[in-house]
Subunit: 106 residues, 3 copies
């Protein structure tokens, strides 16, 4: 048994969860926030059999896409403070696969 | 050291947390959402010594109960769209026990 | 790859996240609640290379501090119900380091 913890963008969450559920996977959704952009994102928990990990990763690959986000930063030049926007690329999914020592449903 | 991650129903959360705390366990509660029913549920994190895992599972077994939930689905028959309710059994607790490589309190 | 899961106090979260991001670490923040005091706190997820764990722990040590909190309890004495405040020391950070079997970004 493995526990997949995947951090995805909010925009992709509904379609990703639907695709996982349609394939019979069990999924739990947790609201989270990115440390860098301070924007909301989604953390999914998906407990699966070892051999199902590649299929879940495939579903994430299909449903989650990279997007460009803009972060305002203050830049000081010639005594004037100006707001610049720096371009930040946010990936589709960040995936951690953890080993589950014991799984039980009550 | 093990980290128990248990997904339980919101209705059982107050009594379950109280029972764990009364036995001296440390517990953290995270609000979560079920992928299938899209209803709120509760994810508990309980870090324990290895030998304490069975007692925590026992407390979950005592405090968390199975319930029947109803999910409306659209069914098309003789050209008419009707809303049917399908019965879904939601378990008391889904429990993942993870091994903790290093534990520290600051 | 390790996944550090750290439970810290809300007051320390902004400075801690900033310090981690400034050092180039990726961080995800999840709102959580303490089981004993029933007060909001913060659960951080920080996925790092194995050799980076000590530095992240150091940043947590520097940014997170212990505080005293007060928990009202009802005490019955000579037939009168009185509200006493018991002093509870809340640590700076509770840290779990989990092994990551597989890490992937899409
Ligand atoms: N310290 C830093 N210095 C420079 N650039 C930085 C940075 N931290 C993040 N970024 C950049 O900003 C994007 C958004 O990061 P954020 O922390 O808001 O949102 C992150 C975070 O919530 C989570 N995440 C990514 N890697 C993580 C890790 N190793 N541990 C925990 N959470 C992670 O996934 C979201 C998307 O990450 P992604 O890597 O695709 O995209 C990141 C990355 O391109
Ligand atoms: N392996 C796992 N990984 C991550 N989270 C897990 C999990 N197993 C269970 N959960 C979490 O626990 C809740 C209750 O699951 P249970 O299996 O008792 O009860 C489930 C199950 O009886 C059924 N169900 C869930 N997914 C299904 C699916 N793909 N196909 C058919 N039935 C499903 O609907 C009930 C409610 O599911 P919901 O998703 O709303 O809520 C789930 C989900 O949040
Ligand atoms: N092994 C573990 N597993 C999961 N989460 C953990 C954990 N150890 C600590 N935490 C989390 O960290 C918060 C601070 O814990 P700390 O031990 O510093 O500070 C604790 C501790 O001094 C005391 N405390 C907690 N549970 C207790 C209990 N069952 N009996 C007596 N004192 C307790 O109250 C303070 C606040 O606890 P609270 O539950 O509100 O909030 C806790 C909880 O959310």
């Amino acid at each position: 048994m493995k526990l997949i913890l995947a951090i995805i963008q909010d925009e992709d969450a509904p379609a990703t969860i639907q695709a996982l559920v349609d394939r019979g996977y069990r999924v739990t959704r947790i609201a989270s926030t990115g440390g860098f952009l301070r924007q909301g994102n989604t953390t999914l928990l998906v407990g699966v059999e070892d051999i199902q990990v590649p299929e879940v990763v495939e579903i994430l690959r299909r449903c989650c896409r990279t997007r460009t986000s803009y972060l305002p930063v203050a830049v000081e030049a010639t005594g004037l403070l100006q707001a610049h926007m720096i371009e930040v690329e946010v990936g589709g999914a960040t995936i951690f696969v953890l080993d589950v020592e014991h799984f039980e449903t009550l």
